[in-house]
């Protein structure tokens, strides 16, 4: 880790902790987040974590840029990784099926694995939540096995159903609401990923871990899933 502070805007500084995406970053990222929240207190407007960075948006009426830099420097003194990350582990039920996950066949072709094996491997790992973005509650997770990695679609879909589970490169994610999207879709989860009435709003938070669990169509429906085929949305 080689922390650097960079200017990004009049009232925002970027704390860059790493140069590469890695699961081993997370305990450090979480520790630094906690320290920054404590150091800035009420003067923190937003703290936006991503894979290797933490963007600090502070109250410009309370702090000037130098004071903000000093607070960041102080927050990092003797930083040590959070041994127990404090993150939750979620199990997301997924109905893996071609009608809601049409790229199952593409991933099977690319990898030379049977569709069942693609599903087994996607649901075998525990993934890290690296960052939330793109839409409220949209969690970028990884890393998926190299053999399952696939680039985004050349032409993004205009409408991807809520709950759709997809893969892009070595990351996986689930769409919280209907939106456009270019990820390779492999299934659908009935889980409510973003709920304005829930404490914390988003099911997944940065630093959480996630495992996908294959469920049958009947279980998916029982859990409140919507099995409208993807084509019917277009």
């Amino acid at each position: 880790m080689n922390p650097r502070v960079e200017v990004v805007a009049l009232d925002c500084l970027m704390l860059r902790l790493f140069d590469e995406i890695a699961e081993a970053n997370m305990p450090w990222m979480l520790a630094a987040s906690e320290r920054l929240r404590a150091a800035f207190g009420a003067h923190l407007i937003d703290l936006v974590p991503s894979y290797t960075t933490l963007m600090v948006h502070y109250d410009l009426t309370a702090l000037n840029p130098n004071q903000a830099r000093e607070l960041i420097a102080e927050a990092l003194i003797d930083l040590s990784p959070n041994a127990r990350t404090g993150g939750q582990c979620h199990v997301l039920p997924v109905w893996y099926d071609l009608s809601v996950g049409p790229e199952l066949s593409l991933l099977s072709r690319r990898s030379g694995l049977a569709v069942e094996e693609v599903i087994r491997r996607h649901s075998a790992r525990e993934y890290q939540v690296f960052a939330l973005g793109f839409a409220p509650g949209f969690a970028f997770m990884g890393l998926v096995e190299e053999v399952l990695a696939a680039p985004r679609l050349n032409t993004p879909r205009k409408k991807v159903a809520a709950g759709s589970v997809g893969i892009a490169e070595r990351q996986t994610a689930a769409y919280p609401v209907v939106s456009p999207g270019g990820w390779n879709l492999i299934g659908r989860t009935p889980a409510r990923l973003f709920d304005r009435n829930r404490e914390g709003y988003s099911l997944m938070q940065p630093g959480d871990t996630v495992r996908f669990e294959a469920v049958s169509h009947a279980e998916f429906i029982n859990l409140g899933g919507d099995d409208t085929p993807l084509e019917a949305l277009a």
Binding site: E6, V8, A9, L47, V48, T53, L60, P65, G133, G137
Partner: protein
Amino acid sequence: MSRLTIEASTPLCLLQDAGRFGVRHLGVTQGGAADWRSMAWANWLLGNGLNLPVIEITLGGFTVVAEEDCLLALAGADLGARIDGEVLAPWRSFKLRKGQTLQFTQPLLGARAYLAAPGGFSAPQVLGSSATVVREELGGLDGRGVPLAKGATLSYQGETLLVREVPAQHRPDLRLDTPLDLVLGAQIGEFSGQSLFDVFNSPWTLDSRADRMGIRLLGTALQYQGRPMISEGIPLGAVQVPPDGQPIVLLNDRQTIGGYPRLGALTPLALARLAQCLPGTQVRLKPVVQEVAHREQVEYLQRFIDR
């Protein structure tokens, strides 16, 4: 309580406040008035807190009828506002009597007008704000991110007797075409020497591909020579350069993280001016260091207190 009925509206007429804060780590965008300065003056005119919910009217096409006698305020663009046909200039508070119609026709100067009411227009707080973000289905009158629509009722609870104007020396001049201040960012040195010259020495034309997420600037293509970036947090006003070399200024409804290299970020005052520019407008950019920009902003905010 006083009420107004919306007789005409467009998808660009939205309830806004200062924006949604403290939830960006969940992928929730900031939202809020694109021209924060005009929103603040509209609220100031009525003695409101500067960030209370206002109506953001972009380009016109908005009409309301008063159901009771109202005292409202208007700041920002001149969108050809009329009360029962009589011209109403912005930067003042005014009475709208029961039964009178306030109509916004077309942009005469600027792009976005802000209509304020005593105590702010009533709307539920969703994740700490009433700001309407259509894409995220958050905020607005119903809390579900729906733009203001014909037939809906606007209401407010507050009262004031303040009928006044923004003092002439404080009234933002929307005709001003001085360069927009850009706080230099970390990747500025990764652009080619020629590009660094072009950024600050050539004109940029506002593309028609512009919305509350961002405004594309057309001009000389800029060349980034650094490594591909890993997605990171995007501040308000960030000027990112995608592979086609045409910069995009990211506004209130931008995505929270992204991976294009950036020149830096426009200052809040530059953003307030940009939000009032129509497609086709030419702008120039000027570099400014963070400390100077910070001082200017703090000084500007003092104006709302000194009055």
